[in-house]
């Protein structure tokens, strides 16, 4: 049936707002989800005949709330409420509810729903699974497939995560400005985790795990719709869109990694790039830089370069220097060193990463970069040692294969 396509999308789109409001009302995650589920079933029954309501989320909240109340009453052996088919156009009730959904409450409902997934005691994978289940509305089966585990294991993981969140008590008081900003930062980090879980997947897994990157983009767009004036949210959205724009160019036919500078840029997704560039432009007008904006600005410089050799490495070096100040980390310095090698040569870059050795000694990428710099300086024996170390630390066969190409290249040069 043709209706199912748009109804599905309307239900998915309304879900965060509806479940968020039902959660505020019932103060229990399971009850809120069941109420929403029931409202969806009734929507599937009545919308094809009566057409969609003017405000789908308000309809679902109203019907979901009644259904759950009805359930309570039925259990108490009292009179049931009238069937909502008779009240499909909810008229005044719906518009009054829609009014109340406007503004801050609506925004806080969605933020709270996202925030309950970020409980600090939950490991990252459980936060991600919970967000996919209760915010995105993915089925346990879909989530299990994305994480490459069995359905039962995922079901258990989600149940456990929910119990933990429930035990900890949900934050229902209206947050103050400081608290809201803190929640926004926590939720942003969780959304980036969802994205990265998909984006960092190996090539042979991208078919299933790639969904996670798309869900991450869906979530950041949701956050951006409710916080349209936060430059860091714009920056995060831009960063994810610009990274994902390269998805089709990142692996070769055999699943091997293709580095940014070797990618076929015609495979990059122009629409994603346009949206990412528009968002980072918008964010930077606020003059309130943050780590996501700086990373997005770096990604934007890559996206703007027609060919790899057109890349503005000097500007990228400056942006990494900025990022080092905002978010000092040896990994950021390592990334900066790559830009430095393009601007000031491999010796300067090598000097920059030498002090990172102790901190990054077990980091695959550190030894890969070091090997490449040594190779450029023609210090072959040391380069070989660094590449060997990188292969030993590789997380995936594709990473190891990539380093092996460098080693082969070293061998050929010698011959």
């Amino acid at each position: 049936m043709n209706d199912i396509g748009w109804i599905d999308a309307v239900l998915t789109a309304a879900r965060p707002q509806a479940v968020g409001a039902l959660l505020r009302y019932f103060r229990d995650l399971d009850t809120a989800e069941e109420a929403f589920q029931e409202a969806c079933l009734r929507a599937l029954k009545t919308w094809p005949q009566n057409g969609p309501p003017r405000d789908a989320a308000a309809w679902l909240i109203f019907v979901g709330r009644n259904a759950a109340m009805d359930d309570v009453r039925r259990r108490a052996k009292q009179v049931a409420l009238p069937d909502e088919a008779a009240i499909s156009d909810l008229g005044d009730a719906e518009s009054a509810l829609a009014d109340r959904l406007d503004g801050e409450q609506y925004r806080d409902d969605i933020l709270r729903l996202l925030f309950v997934c970020c409980h600090p005691e939950l490991p990252a994978t459980q936060q991600i699974a919970l967000a996919l289940r209760i915010v995105c509305g993915l089925s346990v089966k879909q989530i299990a497939r994305a994480f490459l585990v069995g359905d039962a294991a995922m079901e258990q993981r989600i149940t456990r995560a929910k119990a933990r969140v429930g035990d900890a008590g949900l934050p229902f008081e209206t947050p103050g400005a400081v608290e809201r900003a803190e929640r926004l930062a926590t939720v942003s980090a969780m959304i980036y985790l969802v994205f990265n879980e998909g984006y960092s997947a190996r090539s042979e897994e991208t078919a299933t795990r790639g969904t996670l990157a798309e869900q991450g983009i869906w979530l950041v767009r949701l956050l951006l719709r409710v916080f349209p004036q936060e430059p860091e949210v714009m920056g995060l959205a831009a960063l994810m869109l610009l990274q994902q724009s390269r998805a089709a160019a990142r692996f070769d036919g055999e699943g091997g990694i293709i580095l940014l500078e070797d990618q076929d840029r015609r495979l990059w997704d122009d629409k994603r790039i346009a949206e990412g560039l528009a968002l980072i432009d918008k964010a930077m007008r606020h003059r309130r830089p943050g780590p996501y904006q700086v990373q997005a600005a770096i990604a934007a410089l890559h996206a703007r370069a027609q060919r790899a050799e057109d890349t503005d490495w000097a500007q990228i070096d400056l942006l990494y220097a900025n990022l080092e100040r905002l978010q000092p980390s040896p990994v950021v310095t390592l990334n900066r060193a790559v830009a430095v090698s393009k601007v000031r040569g491999p010796a300067a870059a090598l000097e920059m990463i030498e002090p990172l050795g102790p901190k990054l000694s077990s980091y695959f990428y550190f030894h890969g970069v070091k090997g490449a710099l040594l190779q450029q300086l023609d210090r072959r024996a040391e380069a070989r040692a660094a590449f060997d170390r990188a292969i030993a630390l590789a997380n995936t066969p594709a990473e190891a294969a990539h380093i092996r190409q460098h080693l082969d290249h070293l061998g050929k040069e010698r011959a």
């Binding site: 396509g5 748009w6 999308a9 789109a13 309304a14 349209p228 346009a274 949206e275 432009d281």
Partner: protein, 130 residues
């Protein structure tokens, strides 16, 4: 007479379309577009990026106000639109400011990046009513 047909929908819902539903719907729309193009009745067709990528310039007495997000007033109506090639958002805002200087007073310009433009040309002799 030329008519503009403006497309409205919930972008959250359209953003949640499955790939299959998206592709099917686009294919059906293209059938309509192709028919109109063959009849010489189709002008430019654009798909816009989401409103989250939009900026709005609100005219005011002194400095014009630049606001994040789409045009959201209900007391003003859509009266026309431009498609302009801009190097950056800053240039787009500058362009909107030029328009605001030429046409001061009330009103707003929503600045929205275009995702896709199919630049069909209408036959030249078909002029809009003056």
């Amino acid at each position: 007479m030329l008519y503009a047909i403006l497309c409205y929908n919930s972008e959250a819902a359209v953003g949640a379309w499955s790939k299959q539903y998206h592709d099917e719907t686009m294919a059906k729309l293209h059938v309509v577009n192709d028919k109109l193009a063959k009849q010489g009745r189709l002008g430019p067709v654009a798909r816009l990026l989401p409103t989250t990528a939009a900026t709005t310039l609100r005219k005011s007495r002194g400095e014009n106000l630049v606001i994040d997000g789409p045009f959201a007033e209900t007391k003003e109506q859509l009266l026309g639109f431009y498609i302009v090639d801009c190097a950056s958002l800053d240039q787009a805002i500058e362009t909107a400011k030029e328009l605001a200087i030429a046409n001061p007073g009330t009103g707003s310009y929503e600045i929205r990046p275009v995702a896709e433009l199919h630049d069909h040309k209408l036959p030249v002799e078909r002029k809009p009513a003056a």
